[in-house]
């Protein structure tokens, strides 16, 4: 290479210094990685330990043999309907992320393909409301759901996801960069209806963006605690975060840490596995959505 012809000025001391800096970086990263992994490792280990063992000794580094017992206890507790909570969480997360992705992409399609009056104003408005947390309107929302008799149903957890400004924003940007307008026109010439164009051409083209946002939306709903806590008090309708919050209420003498670790594990581990499988796309999607040019 041409650069090798340049006078070699790399002093030995400089390279040693760089090596030390690199070692320092790796050490620091290792500490941070330890902080991130250690709680999850402890969780996995403690899921397999008995009550007495957990209370007698602190941390253990390797698995014990009580996983199946803890697991059965966790699912057979009458006060903690874990099975139904798992099902409820799954239904709510699935439905709301499907709705969020479908309608966000539809809204983005409306913005990208059509030119109508007030488009810019509506867009600015969506950008503005994006940041305002829904929590501040929680009171009015709860009151409205009570008058509609929608408490203890899944509707208030699912329907509002149709309006997801963040997902809309991400898909809108993706569409702006890749959707060829000629394709839409060609489909029109061939006699495809407008909604047909959306279903047959735009949605398939948006698959990568929608997949990433689907995961984010799913995770967000799965982890949501506040809104369900305000609306749901019937055991059979509770989602996983509510079950976790209910643990404190149980009697301390019958309190079994192994069981609770199992419950926490059930709520965390499925998503961690999904994350590890798709981590490359998730990390890419996370940064692409938040940073604009």
């Amino acid at each position: 290479m041409a650069t090798t012809a340049l006078p070699r000025r790399v002093s030995k001391s400089y390279r040693i210094q760089l090596g030390f800096r690199r070692a320092g970086c790796y050490l620091f990263l290792a500490v941070l990685a330890f902080l991130c992994i250690f709680p999850l490792w402890t969780l996995l280990i403690n899921m397999t330990r008995s009550k007495g063992d957990i209370e007698a000794t602190g941390f253990r580094w390797w698995f014990s043999t009580f996983l199946s017992q803890n697991w059965t206890k966790c699912f057979n507790d009458n006060h903690l309907p874990v099975g139904s909570a798992l099902r409820n969480s799954f239904i709510v997360s699935l439905c709301s992320s499907v709705l969020a992705c479908y309608f966000s992409a539809l809204t983005a399609y409306a913005f990208q393909v059509y030119n109508f009056k007030g488009k810019q104003i509506i867009f600015t408005f969506i950008m503005l409301i994006m940041m305002i947390p829904t929590q501040v309107s929680a009171l009015g929302f709860v009151q409205m759901m009570r008058t509609w008799k929608w408490t203890n149903t899944f509707w208030p957890l699912i329907i509002p996801s149709i309006c997801s400004p963040v997902i809309f924003f991400y898909i809108n940007q993706y569409m702006e960069s890749i959707l060829p307008f000629e394709l839409v026109e060609a489909a029109r010439v061939d006699g495809c209806s407008e909604i047909g164009i959306y279903h047959k051409i735009v949605l398939p083209l948006m698959k990568p963006a929608i997949a990433v946002q689907f995961i984010f939306s799913f995770v967000g709903t799965w982890n949501n605690y506040l809104v369900p806590a305000l609306l749901i008090d019937k055991d059979s309708m509770k989602t996983l975060p509510l079950i976790i919050a209910a643990v404190k209420a149980s009697d301390p003498s019958s309190f079994d840490p192994g069981k609770v670790y199992c419950l926490v594990g059930i709520s965390i581990i499925p998503l961690v596995i999904v994350y590890l499988v798709f981590s490359r796309f998730i990390i890419k999607g996370m940064t692409a959505g938040a940073v604009k040019g």
Binding site: T3, L29, C36, G58
Partner: protein
Amino acid sequence: MKPLMKKNRKGHINYNKWGYLFLIPFVVVFLVFQLYPLFQTLHFSWYTYYEDTGLLSSKPVGPDWCGFANYIYLFQHSTVRHFYLFELDLGKIEINDLLYYAINTILIWIEGFIPQIAVSLLLAVWFTHIELNLRFQRFWKTVIYMPNLIMAAAFGMLFQMIFARSGPIINTLLQWGWIKTPIDLGDSSSWTHVIIAFLNFLMWFGNTTLLLMAGVMGIDTSIYESALLDGASSGTVFRKITMPLLKPIFVYVFITSMIGGIQLFDIAQIFTKTTGGSQASSYTLMMYLFSLISDKQNYGQAGALSLLMFIVTAALSMTVYRTMHPRPNEAREQATSYRQRMKEYADCPATIAERGRNAMSASTEKGVR
């Protein structure tokens, strides 16, 4: 711009009405499920409206117009709190509840945010550093971003178990003889909010790192290369190039984190078992709102608190919006100032050219290997 159907031109069909049609679901859901409840919430704040819970039954009182009474209550109701700094007794002070909870919330946010931004900035610079050329980047990124996707409630519960009086941390400390008697870290007026802040840090520093990295990588690499050729030290590069160009994303991270900090709820609620710890030292504004809605069922006061939180978050969001979408003349000013700074940089003498050349050949050599 994309070619679009012209209105009023003969022989053309106007497709644009479809745009309105496709916007309907989004807009209707927004109006019904967000905007109307928001107005309803703000409306309640002017009324006396609560559930009068008796022993057996409860009956709603109101809504009756009461003017500013709810706000006055929020700003006047105070409780005597006993302040401690770890073992040190600071005495009893009577303090307004709202102010106290606001201070708690902001304190927890600051305690988490300072390490978060420091660590994230450091990692973002390291990951994008040409000379350092760190390996296994995807592994590190995957690991540090992972806590962000974990259910905050479950995370809070997990740490509540780990820090519990009979939990592994206390057990280990007892074994090592660092403490004599078991203490409850989830119910201490000094430790609890530090731990909550730490959990917040753990959940969010990966996210911030990735955001800042995207910002750093968005900077034209030729700027770095020329700086390296001029012999700038990495400190100079960081101060004169990275920081100024990162400013917009920095503001974005700062303010979105602040909005998130004001909303802090899940971790604090679960970790302290809804009590907020000893002396309610980790009781946040959202926990206050939650208890007003679901425990005390005082909708008037909850409405007043919501309005105050709405004003703060709306002002913060407005700032984010203005940073991300500068007005045309502001954008021009920014561009000019960057150009100015670049020129100044180009003019500055290459004082440490030796080091720069070292750096260049070190990195190319690495590339050859």
